[in-house]
């Protein structure tokens, strides 16, 4: 059963220079899927993510999430929808500097006015899973990048959203921490059946996913599914990227005169 259906979505930025960021894009995400969206810079990845996270509206076309079109909800309902159904992981973590790690994690629950026992229970589960026990009382500027991203993932998970949206979650991390974070996301996806949509242009990050969707200049370009071996999958992603990557590779003339 698809959790997210995107149908013929188009986004045009109007202004002094009109710019078509997304052009008639359609795809679906199944429940429990881990999807990566890849594409070169300026291909409309972030625009797409903004529209799925309902902070931006498509010019035409529809988005259905669990059968509901969030863009048709009144403004307050839309905010509640984001608060309960979506979790966010950002490239620069976006933790609130004034809050401690544990306060950052439970923030979505306090905004929703949950009872204290419930919050403590969920916090205990999440911190154990994410190995954050040692740093719970530290401030975001006192912890490493990997710990910060784990905290951000904790914040995205604590309210048990149906969809997690990750925007370049490994963009600011070194390779070891990146691997930790990606494995964590993968485990979350496999064990809790949480659906994740991740935007990235790192092929290694994409190789942890079930499926990779490629877009170019706002249009659907290609999609590939996971292999048995991650290494193979990674290789295939690279192949698509090299085709996608620029004029020279993809535009080789097919006819050569002798």
């Amino acid at each position: 059963m698809p959790i997210l259906e995107i149908d013929n979505m188009t986004k045009v930025y109007e202004g002094k220079v009109t710019h078509r960021a997304i052009n008639q894009l359609s795809f679906t995400v199944e429940e429990g899927e881990f999807l990566a969206v890849m594409g070169p810079s300026g291909s409309g990845k972030t625009t797409l993510l903004n529209m799925i996270s309902t902070v931006d509206e498509p010019t035409s076309g529809t988005i259905l999430m669990n059968g509901v079109n969030p863009h048709q909800l009144p403004e307050n309902e839309l905010a509640y929808f984001r608060r309960r159904q979506l979790g966010f992981v950002f490239q620069n973590f976006n933790l609130l500097q004034t809050l401690t790690v544990e306060e950052n994690i439970i923030l979505p629950l306090t905004l929703d006015n949950q009872p204290l026992e419930e919050m403590e229970e969920r916090l205990a589960i999440i911190t154990e899973r994410l190995h954050l026990q040692a740093i719970l009382h530290k401030r975001p500027n006192e912890i490493s990048g990997g710990q910060a991203q784990r905290t951000a993932i904790g914040r995205a998970l604590i309210h048990r959203p149906s969809l997690i949206l990750a925007d370049e979650p490994t963009g600011n991390l070194d390779s070891n921490t990146s691997r930790d974070v990606l494995e964590l996301l993968m485990h979350v996806n496999q064990e809790q059946k949480t659906t994740i949509v991740m935007v990235t242009h790192d092929p290694i990050a994409a190789s942890y996913c079930d499926r990779v969707l490629f877009i170019k200049d706002g249009e659907f370009y290609n999609e590939i599914y996971k292999d048995d071996r991650r290494q193979m999958f990674f290789q295939r992603i690279l192949n698509v990227l090299s085709l996608l990557g620029g004029g020279q590779v993809g535009d080789l003339s097919t006819i050569r005169l002798p």
Partner: protein, 639 residues
């Protein structure tokens, strides 16, 4: 594009960012200008207020300039801090520090000159209006608008030098941040400040001791010298309160999950901690400045209540009091009546003979007045007459309070010297004489009994056993102020002087003059202080705006509704506004409670009504200010 052009365009194209600083400068210039217009007014210098007032006004002007300087310096620094990212980019592109300083200098001067011009235009157009208000307040006949170069020159001179000084100071006093820190925004830099529990306790204790001391000294006026410690205690207490006590309280609350983990509290408390950590000094300054402003407004209200109640306390125009053997009596009374007639003032003269006796009931001295004498005065007042039988007597109340106490009192006593038994069972229902003219122990005796008073008090300590009292009831008593006895006025102050003249009109004119001067000074200082204390907070908010914008962007993405955003902003702004002002109000409440207790002994007037009125007016201004700034803040945060 030359360097100077770059600076000009920087200012003019970023009008929105510069607006707040520009408005603050404009307002300071306008207030200063209006006040200078008043100070240089040709009618005021020689006229009503005299030399003293000119010195007072000049003094206020100096305080104003110093404070404006500090205020502009502070706003400028906050403003520069808010632009740190921009400066970071410029330095990153290879601008020298020296050039950056020049840029800041040129920009400040552009804003400064613009605000001087606009401020003077604004001030000049409101001068007439201000003069009209002053005229009404000081009971002047006319106070026309005039044109003179002096106020213009003074304002331009003072503010041009102020802006030059400020731009130099703000550049040379600002810390040299690293380019990277500037690019990130210096508000993000965490201070490593830690509160100390010792100082936190000190803060509360100092303030409480200060309050205790001020109340104590107002009850036991003998220890009045101790009050000099009060400002000291309050100042240090307030400082520690903001630097440590608030942080301690916030830390305690943060540790209690049950309280802290609730809806917006989590964010609001964390934000307050951050703000307090970084801005303790600013809050301290705002509190002290507001305290001063509130105090001066409160004192003004007190003065106004004193002047309005003066009429009630002093219903009489002139009172001449002299010993029975005063050699000048006839001459003086003639002189006074002649002077009154010269001025065409109608008066009603009553002569009293007051005899001092000893009461057997209390063994105290008592002053006795004659029924027919007092009736003559009461007749001129249109007050009810006194009708006493032989053996009866009546209390004369000195104050409204005496009236309440004496109302149901019945005393049987004997005037010892002449062995006259009387029953004092009534009190005259109104206060007749101003305070301190006759003794607290005064009674009216029937004419029959008064005739029998032959022997005067035998108490050797009493200097004047019999004295004469001449009351001139003048309906236009405010106009008696230039009536004097043609003698050296200091002779009257001599303790052994056989006579004394009380001139209500003259006393009142002194009070009015002081009061008007004070009004002018206080209104000006309080306006500027109030405005400034609000602006401090606004500029601080402005400097922290970028960080808060980021924070709110994250929260909105996470699903914060618009109404929740407003509630959260309320919780962010409310303590910043009302904790300093609330504390200032508390300081002032104690100060005025003490003043009230003190005044009660001295002149017996109540200031509670006026002070409460003034304070509610101040609170209203603050609430308006809060909503104004909240409105701007929400607009910024949403964008």
């Amino acid at each position: 594009m030359t360097f100077r052009q770059f600076a000009y365009r920087n200012v003019f194209r970023n009008g929105r960012i510069y607006a707040a600083f520009f408005m603050a400068s404009c307002f300071s210039v306008a207030v200063f200008f209006i006040y200078s217009m008043l100070m240089f007014h040709p009618n005021l210098g020689r006229g009503v207020l005299g030399e003293v007032s000119l010195v007072g006004m000049a003094g206020a002007e100096v305080i104003l300039v110093l404070f404006t300087l500090f205020f502009l310096f502070y706003s400028m620094s906050a403003f520069l801090a808010a632009r740190s990212r921009e400066f970071g980019i410029l330095l990153h592109l290879g601008m020298e520090r020296r050039q950056l300083n020049r840029l800041v200098f040129i920009e400040t001067m552009v804003i400064g000159i613009a605000s001087i011009v606009i401020g003077i235009i604004f001030g000049f157009s409101f001068s007439k209006f201000f003069f009209m208000i002053v005229r009404e307040m000081l009971y002047l006949e006319h106070l026309p608008l005039y044109l003179s170069w002096a106020p213009f020159l003074l304002t331009i001179g003072v503010f041009t030098s102020a802006f030059v000084i400020i731009s130099y100071l703000s550049v040379s006093f600002s810390r040299e941040y690293k380019v990277l820190d500037l690019l990130r925004g210096i508000d993000q830099i965490e201070t490593s400040f830690q509160y100390s529990i010792k100082r936190a306790i000190k803060g509360v204790v100092y303030i409480l001791v200060g309050y205790g001391l001020i109340i104590f000294t107002s009850y036991f006026t003998g220890y009045l010298a101790l009050t000099i410690f009060v400002p000291l205690l309050i100042t240090f207490g307030t400082y520690y309160f903001f630097s440590d006590t608030t942080l301690l309280l916030l830390a305690i609350v943060r540790r209690k999950r049950k309280i802290n983990w609730r809806r917006f509290r989590l964010l609001a408390i964390a934000e307050q901690t951050h703000i307090m950590k970084n801005n303790a000094k600013m809050f301290f300054v705002v509190t002290m400045v507001s305290t001063l402003a509130f105090l001066s407004v409160g004192v003004l209200a007190t003065m106004s209540s004193y002047t309005t109640q003066y009429n009630l306390i002093n219903p009489m125009g002139l009172i001449y009091k002299g010993d029975a053997n005063n050699p000048y009596e006839g001459e003086h009374i003639r002189s006074l009546t002649e002077q009154l007639e010269e001025r065409g003032l109608s008066y009603h003269l009553t002569r009293f003979v007051v005899v001092k006796q000893t009461s057997s009931a209390t063994k105290n001295e008592v002053e006795v007045l004659r029924e027919s004498d007092i009736n003559r005065l009461l007749y001129s007042y249109n007050y009810p007459m006194v009708n006493l039988q032989e053996g009866e007597a009546m209390f004369i109340p000195n104050t409204e309070e005496d009236l309440q106490i004496l109302k149901d009192k019945v005393v049987h006593t004997v005037l010892e010297e002449n062995d006259i038994a009387i029953q004092i069972d009534r009190v005259y229902p109104r206060v007749i004489f101003p305070k301190a003219v006759i003794s607290v122990n005064s009674i009216i005796l029937s004419d029959e009994d008064f005739e029998k008073l032959w022997y005067v008090t035998s108490d050797p300590t009493v200097a004047q056993p019999v004295y004469h009292l001449f009351t001139f009831d003048v309906s236009n008593w405010m106009e008696t102020k230039d009536i004097t006895l043609d003698v050296d006025p200091t002779a009257m102050l001599n303790k052994n002087s056989p006579y004394k003249l009380e001139n209500a009109g003259l006393n009142y004119s002194y009070i009015v003059a002081t009061y008007s001067l004070f009004t002018l000074v206080v209104l000006l200082v309080a306006t500027v202080f109030l405005l400034a204390s609000g602006s401090f907070i606004y500029f601080k908010l402005h400097a922290a705006l970028e960080r808060n914008q980021q924070q709110f962007a994250v929260l909105r993405r996470m699903g914060l509704t618009d109404s929740e955003l407003k509630k959260l902003v309320n919780r962010y702004l409310f303590p910043q506004f009302f904790v300093p002002w609330g504390l200032a109000l508390l300081h002032c409440t104690f100060a005025f409670a003490a003043l009230q207790l003190f005044l009660k002994d001295l002149v017996n007037i109540s200031i509670a009504k006026e002070v409460i009125l003034a304070f509610s007016f101040l609170i209203m201004i603050q609430v308006i200010y809060f909503y104004l700034i909240r409105w701007r803040y929400i607009a910024h945060v949403r964008s």
